[in-house]
């Protein structure tokens, strides 16, 4: 007989406080704009009336939401019933659920509650967020586990299933510090900020700045250097604080059929990720990360369809700051049939040259226009131009060394180096061939000269940018081989 549990929306005060907080913040922003544009008298009378009525209405709405929302937990589904006038009934089948996410904001933590969100493969999976207590959350997780066949004899194996939980990666504070330093392009950000500040100081030159330069330091260059160092330090501190708040206590737990990723200092994030939905991995390394000998692993998994973002928050699954030598061991632990990385075939490098020449010509034209018409000091434009050209040439050299593609053992192995003004990011992709949905080969007039084109590989992924793998300047023969391989693998499915 089917076992059905009825769970009520938990924590009335929490529901009210979330709704109230949201309305207050949005109203403050709104009034800030209004007060800047209209008279103070209007704002003086308008603010209290609208603010209190909005808070009152949001409280009433929250109370109705509390009493009119509840969830029915079946053996293979969860049903969410909500609404006062427009009744809404959502049935989410466990077979379609790829991940169950729990978000714990400050208010949720105060009441020890979970904001649970279900994710399916559909493109428009905007299900109602469940606000439940710890016990109900565990019930939901258990129901899903039971459905997936993890706990076949739930009562008997309750103790042993707890033993199966294995923490395979816990990021230490030093690891997080390394990640913060390596993941922020401090030099570029500092140079941009510094350039902008000095240009403004030149543009709005005052006697006071002149006095500071002349009297306190005497030398202009010392002043500039000190400013640059201060900006670099500030950016670093900001990056470290932000990453500590976001990724504090990053833990990856391995369960029998799924992984659990949790992190966060103020907002605690919990991701339950099904092992069978992992379609590939990306090992990412910036130039600074390479110096520190660490890398970042992202998992490509079938998830939120084309949206890739949930409430503006990026929801990729990545494992921060792993020492490179341990990355392969960790991936072997996480993925079945994972093998060492194959080097593969390089693209035709001559084909990179026309594109680079065009980009350098465009940069020179922009620089000439900036020198003529912008208030920015000429020396910074020359400096930026030289740095850009050097960065492009180094990038080309690195691309010849690193870019590779091969397919073997039902997997596509690929390395790709992207360059954005000294921000060299080295990525290794390992993708299951079964996850490939579409192949594309595009050839422009320049590439025609060298008999090459760009290969695009589309696959199932939760993130749009990871869903398409773009590989530049490969021969048409190579594309044909890849196509044949894909046909062969699909025959075996």
């Amino acid at each position: 007989m089917e076992k059905i549990m009825k769970i009520k929306q938990s924590f009335l005060p929490l529901v009210i406080s979330i709704a109230t907080l949201k309305s207050i913040v949005s109203l403050i922003i709104f009034f800030f704009i209004v007060l800047n544009n209209f008279s103070d008298i209007l704002g003086f009378f308008l603010i209290p009336i609208v603010l209190f009525s909005a808070i009152f209405l949001s409280c009433i709405g929250a109370v109705f939401k509390y009493f009119r929302t509840y969830y029915i937990l079946g053996e293979d589904y969860i049903e969410i019933r909500s609404g006062l006038l427009n009744l809404k009934k959502e049935t989410i089948l466990f077979s379609k659920v790829t991940t169950i996410n729990s978000n714990r904001s400050i208010t949720s933590q105060m009441f020890n509650a979970h904001e649970v969100r279900f994710e399916t493969n559909d493109t428009d999976n905007k299900f109602e967020v469940l606000i439940v207590d710890e016990v109900s959350y565990q019930k939901i997780i258990k129901a899903k586990e039971t459905y997936d066949g993890v706990n076949k004899c739930a009562e008997e194996e309750e103790v042993s299933s707890k033993d199966e939980t294995l923490i395979i990666k816990k990021i230490t504070n030093s690891g997080l510090l390394k990640f913060s330093i390596t993941n922020s392009n401090v030099i570029v950000s500092a140079l941009i900020l510094f350039g902008a500040l000095t240009s403004f100081s030149e543009y709005f030159k005052t006697d006071y700045i002149d006095e500071v330069i002349n009297v306190v330091l005497g030398l202009e260059i010392v002043f500039y250097l000190l400013s640059l160092v201060t900006i670099v330090c500030l950016i670093l501190v900001f990056s470290i604080v932000r990453n500590f708040i976001k990724y504090y206590d990053f833990t990856l737990e391995k369960h029998q059929d799924y992984y659990k990723i949790s992190y966060g200092l103020i907002n605690k994030q919990n991701f339950t990720l099904q092992r069978r939905y992992i379609n590939g991995v990306i090992i990412k390394q910036t130039l600074l990360a390479r110096i520190f000998g660490i890398c970042e692993i992202s998992l490509i998994n079938a998830g939120y369809g084309s949206s890739g973002k949930e409430d503006g928050e990026d929801t990729s699954y990545f494992i921060l700051s792993v020492p490179l030598q341990k990355a392969h061991a960790l991936l072997k632990e996480m993925m079945d049939e994972y093998d060492e990385f194959y080097s593969g075939e390089p693209p035709v490098f001559k084909a990179y040259i026309p594109k680079k020449v065009v980009s350098i010509i465009i940069t020179i034209i922009v620089a000439i226009l900036l020198i003529k018409f912008s208030p920015i000091h000429d020396i910074f434009i020359y400096l930026a131009l030289i740095l850009f050209i050097i960065s492009d040439i180094i990038g080309l050299f690195l691309q010849t060394r690193f870019n590779r593609l091969c397919f073997k053992d039902n997997k596509i192995y690929c390395t790709d180096l992207t360059t954005t003004f000294f921000m060299y990011t080295y990525k290794k992709y390992i993708v299951n061939v079964e996850a490939v949905l579409k192949l594309e080969f595009n050839r422009g007039p320049f590439q025609r000269l060298y008999g090459v084109g760009d290969i695009s590989i589309n696959m199932y992924s939760d993130k749009e940018k990871d869903a398409t793998l773009k590989l530049h300047h490969y021969t048409h023969k190579f594309f044909k081989d890849l196509r044949e391989y894909l046909i062969e693998v699909n025959k075996g499915l």
């Binding site: 490939v436 579409k438 080969f441 084109g453 589309n458 894909l486």
Partner: protein
Amino acid sequence: MEYRLNKNTYKIHLLARLPFLLIVIGVFITYQIFLRELIFDGNDSLSYLIQNIILVVLIIILLGIFIFTFINPYLLYKYARLYINDEYIEYHTGKVFYSTHFVPITKVQQVKINRGPIQRGYKASSITIKTAFDSLDTASIDTSVCEELKTVILKRIDGKNHEN
């Protein structure tokens, strides 16, 4: 099996794109006759330079749309091919900007036939083959061929599913 586009592809695309070309020509003429003098009243070197840059950009856009309207449909008809067999669907387009789209038949989730008002007049339709993430859109193909294609693709998907 190899399929070519509808014989009237050139006319269909020309008729569909002509209004856009006329609008752009209208904007160009309005700018040259009325707006140019209104916006730039000074005769300094900066305003002269901006005027010339805008003129060059507008001419490039106009030329691009002209090529897109009159030459692109002809090249599209000449080079576009659709191949279907038991394992995959492949769609080739272009000569200068060559492009190949390849979809394994097992990954197809939906087949959609679109018929616009102009296409209806020439008994043509375009076909959209959807996968879980992306889709493949073809240009105008004969409606009868489209229906046949749809049946063939769905039969093959069905056959594959039974095999598995």
